[in-house]
Symmetry: C2
Subunit: 106 residues, 2 copies
């Protein structure tokens, strides 16, 4: 199950990304095909994120509610689920249980 | 400067390690030679860690004081400095400014 639990033959940036006063901590992974992902944690609370590239967030653990700007509705996601966020947009995230995620930049 | 800012040709575990109620967040990196490191952040506060393997902690950013069990003296470390901790031991870490580190397991 290594394919499921780890990324192989990648580069990883040594410095962490720390946002929102530590509410979000991630590390950046670079792939040979030029794409990148971040692996991270978001602690309980409500935050507003902006995107540049479109993103798909894979929830590995925890639980959150998401409201994408212009949508208006909250949707709930938990372990094993993913949600997509358009590029150049914003979304609210209400983390109910500490979120462990992989963010895929498309 | 890529050698300095990233690790290449590694595997990375997708799930984060979250300790001490989120005071410490890290991700594990696996090297082809069988060694591993963790990349992480420790937020301000005082924690007590135990080791199994001997460790060398490289401080990438921030500032901390360390007291290794049996030593009794506090030593201060900041960005660019490293400290070694024996295997099967414990140490107190007082993080003064959020610590961004690489932990090398020997």
């Amino acid at each position: 199950m290594t394919l499921d639990t780890q990324f192989n033959q990648v580069s990883v940036i040594k410095r962490a990304n720390v946002y929102f006063d530590g509410k979000c901590v991630s590390h950046t992974v670079l792939f040979a095909d030029g794409t990148r992902k971040t692996l991270g944690v978001i602690f309980p609370g409500t935050l507003n994120f902006g995107t540049e590239a479109p993103e798909v967030m894979d929830v590995q653990a925890g639980k959150c509610r998401i409201r994408i700007e212009g949508d208006g509705e909250w949707h709930t996601y938990s372990a094993g689920q993913s949600f997509a966020v358009p590029g150049n947009s914003r979304f609210d995230i209400h983390v109910i249980e500490t979120l462990d995620y992989v963010c895929n930049y498309l």
